[in-house]
């Protein structure tokens, strides 16, 4: 990021938080409805350092990490397989087209019925939610690999396995990464959403619990933390992307 652009970003954060602070102090809204920014930010720090929030943060993070990585490990091979085999494509494509626009969060009540309201159903819904965008992106990536590349590798005596790992997988990575970005956004929605529906632990639970107990300032503080996490994950992803794809 160029330096002047970075200045703009810092500037806009300062302005937005200033607006929040000003609006809260002006007395248009009661202070419970809109607590001042500084108080809220201090509240966020306090929640992380001294309160029970780390427990919920870990609970959400652990479900998210397991669900997201299982989905990634399952979906990329399936997508590449679809691109390599016509039969697999004809089997899976109609199923994927039919289920693609269906919000996977709708599966939460059924999964809760099957697996209980614990971690298993929440992890499963994350796996399902991320699966289709990842499969589709891996399929398009592997599909886009130039056939001439595969032919010339074969002509030079490269084995099928080597072709898969040395040519097809790396060549489809840029497309897979755009799928990962989409899946990241969906997985965060689903993690929080499922915790808001079946409330036991996690950030979504904590957020709604504070709302229902009327601790509005805590709600805002948790919101700041969630925003920070979403932003951080996205930055990490684009850093990884930049390093892995430096040859593109």
């Amino acid at each position: 990021m160029r330096k002047e652009i970075r200045v703009f970003y810092v500037f806009s954060i300062v302005i937005l938080s200033g607006l929040w602070e000003g609006l809260a102090r002006s007395g248009i809204f009661p202070s419970e409805v809109l607590p001042p920014f500084v108080t809220t930010l201090c509240g966020s720090i306090q929640l992380i350092v001294a309160d029970e929030l780390p427990k919920h943060l870990l609970a959400s993070g652990y479900r998210w990490a397991i669900g997201f990585s299982i989905s990634l490990v399952l979906s990329v091979p399936v997508g590449i397989w679809m691109a390599r085999s016509k039969r697999v494509y004809h089997f899976l494509d109609p199923l994927l087209t039919l289920t693609y626009p269906v919000p996977k969060a709708a599966m939460i009540p059924i999964l809760m019925l099957w697996m209980g309201a614990g971690d298993l159903s929440k992890v499963t819904v994350i796996i399902i939610g991320c699966f289709i965008p990842l499969v589709i992106s891996a399929y398009h990536g592997a599909q886009g690999v130039e056939t001439s590349l595969i032919w010339s590798a074969r002509a030079m005596g490269m084995g099928e396995k080597k072709i898969l790992f040395r040519i097809i997988l790396p060549a489809s990575l840029p497309t897979v990464f755009s799928g990962i970005r989409m899946a990241l956004a969906i997985s965060l929605i689903v993690v929080l959403g499922s915790e808001m529906i079946a409330r036991q632990s996690g950030l979504g639970y904590y957020l709604f619990n504070s709302l229902e107990m009327g601790l509005y300032q805590t709600t805002y503080s948790v919101l700041i933390i969630i925003s920070g996490i979403g932003f951080l994950l996205d930055r990490i992803l684009s850093l990884v992307m930049k390093n892995v794809l430096d040859w593109v």
Partner: protein, 261 residues
């Protein structure tokens, strides 16, 4: 002749979607066999019967209407606000430097987290849900429009200007049509996200809508009804997505991107 053609059409559909029929019949067999309790997995045929019962003799249409009203109001507002905003960001440096930082920063944040705050301000009825859908779907629409409008070749704008085209006409005749493929892309993401969010918000806090129907029926262990709600959501999602793609094909006939899909 007619019957032959109809027969071959049926055959084509059966062959093309054979996996769907396979999965559905497997579901039916397992559901009927009694291996899994019917509360856990009601057979497809029972879900289909319940679908029509709820549609004609119960409140399925009412719940669907409530969900659709919320979704389309939010998504429509997001499009009405998002598209002009995205184009203005690409056209005017001042708008861009004002809006790009907060939009880029806000993009990766899961906006469902804002829902409790929206409840504080707007209550648990329509408004907070519409606002949440608006926020979630406005981000992809604005960003896609903005990036699309940035890609419009400056040469085209210059040549239009040199031929004496007015600013407004440049917007309508040059920039908007060339940005359209990207607007469609953003709208498609917005559509899917708003479908997710409307049902989530109804599952979290609502007294009506398909999300509420789903939660209340599963809490009452009327799982056939839960599947009915899921089926309705799937049908609507599929219908919207398909119509969007065919609309895009029609509107982008002149564009190379309109050809595939």
């Amino acid at each position: 002749m007619k019957t032959v053609r109809a027969f071959s059409a049926v055959r084509r559909i059966l062959l093309q979607y054979y996996s769907v029929f396979l999965v559905a019949s497997l579901w039916e067999i397992v559901g009927r066999s009694g291996a899994i309790h019917p509360v856990l997995l009601p057979p497809v045929s029972k879900v289909a019967v319940r679908f029509f019962e709820l549609l004609f003799f119960d409140q399925l249409l009412y719940h669907t209407g409530q969900s659709m009203f919320r979704m389309w109001t939010g998504l429509g507002l997001a499009t009405l606000v998002g598209v002009p905003l995205g184009i203005m960001m690409a056209r005017f440096a001042s708008v861009r430097s004002l809006l790009e930082p907060p939009l880029t920063l806000g993009f990766p944040i899961p906006k469902v987290g804002v829902y409790p705050v929206l409840i504080i301000f707007f209550g648990v009825l329509h408004t907070s849900k519409i606002m949440l859908i608006f926020i979630e779907s406005a981000f992809p629409i604005v960003m896609a429009t903005f990036h699309g409008a940035l890609l419009v070749e400056q040469r085209l704008i210059w040549s239009a200007e040199s031929m004496g085209t007015e600013e407004r006409e440049i917007l309508w005749k040059v920039i908007f049509p060339l940005t359209l493929p990207h607007i469609f892309m953003g709208f498609r993401i917005g559509l899917i996200v708003s479908l997710i969010v409307v049902f989530l918000s109804e599952m979290i806090a609502s007294a009506e809508g398909l999300g509420h129907l789903m939660m209340s029926s599963s809490r009452g262990f009327r799982s056939a009804d839960t599947f009915v709600a899921i089926a309705m959501i799937s049908i609507l999602g599929l219908l919207f997505d398909r119509s969007l793609l065919s609309l895009r094909r029609k509107m982008l006939k002149w564009h190379p991107e309109g050809e595939h899909h």
